[in-house]
């Protein structure tokens, strides 16, 4: 193989400018792709992490039909205590589950004694909530950050704090209607203000789950949802499948499935943006493949055309068609390897530069998000292997043509 590599490398160096241009094209393609993958991927990972770690968890379990009515936060579709016990026993047995947090979701009137507005609230057990959504405390931008939520206090979203001109320590009144239609009001103290994030629930307030039960005058320990955190989010797909299968065996009184299970991507519209990013990544990959395919094929077709007599000569000397095929494929392979290598090096350098520069950007209502692109070895390997394989494929047709050439015709070529 060394002998073929040596001759192929020298043949590439024979046409230095052409080889340089082709390598440059491949390098630019690889660099563009890796930069896009690293920046968009980091943005996606950051946003998904923010959504799952500070709001939704990796997946949620609701009573069947709850999610389709979630806008009205229906208290009549809460899960009964005995149903919750069954679900929690399944959660406790599953090895992939790290933590879960039961929640009561409710809508209420929020009054500062001068003005009134609507507020959506999550009644949570603070310890369990922090285990399921460990980044939630980091969203507290004003007030006490030591404990997520204490009895008699609430966390309110930034928008309401600004709109209602309230701050931590202020007294407010929450008025809620329970599932029977009766109204109850309780005084609370604002413990802190939460930074809003994109997506549903991103502008919800938080209160202690026992306060929520008291406000809603719940006699049983009903809950609206369970947010679950996994040990490894990569396994979400098959864990979801497990839970769908396990929970489908739990039936309601009508004999139908009592629960529904949704991954974070089905609960947040950011999943569409994430899908769009994946689609754009695919599109960029297709462009890269096209660049490599066309440039390598072009250069190899030219190489074969210009070396027809040489092909005739080596063929006359007894070089096997397979060896001639390998000679030309190796040229394409080398172009791919060099382009992928240089492109990867440049990408690593640029990504390192971007990490040092710490560019910030805004997304939706969120500002000051820091761009921290990361380049995984997997991404570099995927791009490099893809480029090398395509470069070899692009060389196949010209190499095949060279190997099948009639030596007499080739030797007569002027």
């Amino acid at each position: 193989m060394n002998k073929i590599l040596k001759i192929a490398a020298r043949n590439l160096l024979r046409y230095q400018r052409r080889t340089l241009l082709t390598t440059l094209l491949i390098t630019i393609g690889v660099t563009a792709m890796l930069l896009f993958v690293s920046t968009s991927g980091s943005f996606k990972t950051m946003m998904v992490g923010q959504i799952t770690d500070s709001m939704l968890g990796h997946f949620q379990i609701h009573r069947k039909g709850y999610v389709s009515s979630i806008d009205s936060l229906p208290l009549t579709m809460n899960m009964k205590p005995q149903m919750v016990d069954k679900v929690e026993s399944i959660l406790a047995k599953h090895g992939e589950v790290e933590a879960w947090s039961p929640r009561i979701k409710l809508g209420a009137m929020f009054s500062n004694f001068a003005e009134t507005t609507n507020i959506r609230l999550n009644g949570v057990d603070p310890e369990k909530e922090v285990e399921a959504c460990p980044e939630l405390p980091k969203r507290i931008i004003a007030g006490n950050k030591e404990k997520l939520i204490e009895r008699g206090k609430i966390l309110i979203p930034e928008l309401i704090a600004k709109g209602m001109k309230v701050k931590p320590g202020d007294a407010v009144v929450l008025v809620a209607t329970n599932k029977d239609g009766s109204v109850n009001g309780i005084n609370f103290v604002i413990q802190g203000v939460l930074e809003g994030i994109s997506g549903p629930g991103g502008r919800d307030g938080y209160m202690h789950i026992d306060d929520a039960r008291e406000l809603l005058r719940m006699e049983d320990n009903e809950i609206s949802e369970i947010a679950i955190r996994l040990k490894n989010p990569e396994n979400l797909k098959h864990v979801l499948q497990d839970f769908k299968e396990n929970l489908s065996q739990l039936k309601n009184q009508q004999g139908k499935a009592a629960f529904e299970v949704h991954g974070w991507d089905k609960l947040s519209p950011f999943a569409n943006i994430a899908n769009m990013i994946d689609l754009m990544t695919l599109f960029i990959k297709v462009m890269l493949v096209s660049i490599v395919l066309i440039s390598v094929m072009n250069v190899m077709i030219m190489a074969v055309y210009e070396r027809i007599r040489e092909i005739g000569t080596i063929s006359a000397m007894g070089t096997q068609p397979g060896t001639i095929l390998k000679l030309f494929i190796t040229e394409g392979l080398l172009l791919g390897i060099v382009g992928a290598f240089i492109g990867s090096l440049i990408s690593i350098a640029i990504v390192f530069g971007l990490q040092q520069a710490e560019f910030s950007f805004s997304f939706g209502r969120q500002s000051g998000l820091v761009l921290y692109p990361e380049l995984a070895i997997k991404d570099i390997l995927v791009a490099s292997i893809m480029v090398i394989v395509v470069a070899v494929l692009a060389s196949l047709q010209p190499a095949w043509k060279a190997s099948r050439m009639d030596p007499i015709t080739a030797l007569r070529h002027v």
Binding site: K3, R10, N11, R14, E310, A316, M317
Partner: protein
Amino acid sequence: MSLVHANNISKTYCAGDVEVNAIKEVDFAIEPASFVSFVGPSGSGKSTLLNMIGCLDFPSSGTLEVAGTEVRHLDRKAAARFRGENIGFIFQDFNLIPVLTVEENIEYPLLMVQDWTAAKRQERIKELLDEVDISAQAKKYPHQLSGGQKQRVAVARALATHAKLILADEPTANLDHDTAYRIIDLMKKMRDDYKSTFIFSTHDPKIMDAAEIIYTLEDGKLNKQSGSSNHE
């Protein structure tokens, strides 16, 4: 036993709708270690005959044995293997590989066709470089050589694998007379040293006189005549 034995071979080409009989029912036999010339005007069929002897082309009819093998029905791979094992080529335009140095050009068939060990290759290259008197140019590339030097390299390359048969199609056509004679002398010396058979085509009367056996081709028909030199 003859090294090349042609029995009633013909070669017919189709040029569009027209059939062209390039070689017509030719018989000849060439003994080992001969120094043979095919002469004739352009289009007489010299190159076609050399191509068939070199297994680059095959007769339309008749039988052609080269080095004891009936070559007419060899497929592409078998023909390449046969050429690599038995035949060396010298071309009018030298046809050296431009990206390889002189010694690498000589090494090419040993490495890419016959897979000799590095030590044996180096020994053979040194021997041939000395034989064709081009050792000083060993590290040079073809574009750094004169025409005569290039053809010396081509002769060395053709002989590298101890080919039984060396075919040279107009080997002196691109050389001045003095250089042409020197190349013919070199080829003869190589024949004497290595006992390879040299068959070359030419239309230069002075060069053809150097052959020991001359075959004249005219309109695809072959006539044999003795050459002026003696083969001992």
